[in-house]
Symmetry: C2
Subunit: 142 residues, 2 copies
DNA sequence: CTCCTAAGTTGGCTTTCCCAACTCACGTTA
DNA sequence: TAACGTGAGTTGGGAAAGCCAACTTAGGAG
């Protein structure tokens, strides 16, 4: 059988390799330069260079020059990259709850003043989404 | 420098390898048996066996026997595994919006009757979470 | 007996990954 | 001007992981 066509699989084609999401985490933290990303993730430089190139060509990051003499650039998030914030939030929340032992290594405060605990809700009704609250809708005819 | 301690990295240690999240997707779809998972993901059987073993030992899945003669089992989600649903939802949403060309391969209907578009909100105030709405809170002293 | 199914294992080959060292373009210090 | 520093990668070689097809094991069905 041929594997299921699925946007999760498509997403993982782009950001599913090792170091890709960690590189993006660093960019969200404001560490937008090659050496910062390498140091904070622990990725080897050759693999990191390959991942960044792929993320740029996939439109998740863009290379922005911030100095021409000497030529230097940083990696900035595109809209697509910014939209990955949600994925990182949920991954961190899951890691905090089920993997990391002891207190969370990072804690974030939401603009409402409270410590953030992200929750996934239906954009239409605002109710929390559980696996049981979903049914598969009709497939688009292809 | 030593890499940043982070629950995203910890989470990816567990579910970040290729095929792990796709195997979990299948279990959420109700395809809980080895051959089903292999067929629907496209993973090679040896790698899939290794991934499932790892997910079981990490407490994300559990092996449940459903027949003793012949001995047969299926993979069921634990609480930890069920909590990954949010990650898959956000990954699919991102894939639908930024990677998959054309209409989404799967559409889900929420129990409220509408097509699901998941959204991440702050559990306390219910407002949508953006990268800019967050500030880093004090680190726990270690 | 022989065939069939589920759930892996095994062997052999190919592709990635990792690490340290090197390059290259430029600026700075002495 | 020579030596040194910095940012951003490349390169080379060995180790690890991945891929595929075929094999195994434990039992049931015809």
């Amino acid at each position: 059988m041929t594997p299921r066509s699925c946007s999760i699989a498509n997403a993982l084609e782009v950001v599913g390799e090792r170091w890709s999401l960690l590189a993006l985490r660093e960019v969200f933290f404001g560490n937008t330069r090659f050496d910062q990303i390498a140091a904070n993730t622990g990725a080897s430089r050759d693999v990191l260079a390959a991942r960044l190139k792929k993320l740029v060509s996939a439109g998740v990051l863009e290379k922005v020059q911030y100095s021409s003499h000497p030529p230097r650039h940083e990696y900035h998030l595109t809209d697509s990259g910014r939209a990955l914030h949600n994925v990182l939030l949920m991954l961190r929340e899951w890691g905090d709850q089920y993997v990391t032992e002891g207190p969370p290594p990072q804690v974030f405060q939401h603009s409402c003043g409270h410590v953030l605990h992200p929750r996934v809700v239906c954009a239409h009704c605002g109710e929390e989404v559980s696996p049981e609250s979903l049914t598969r809708a009709a497939q688009p005819t292809h």
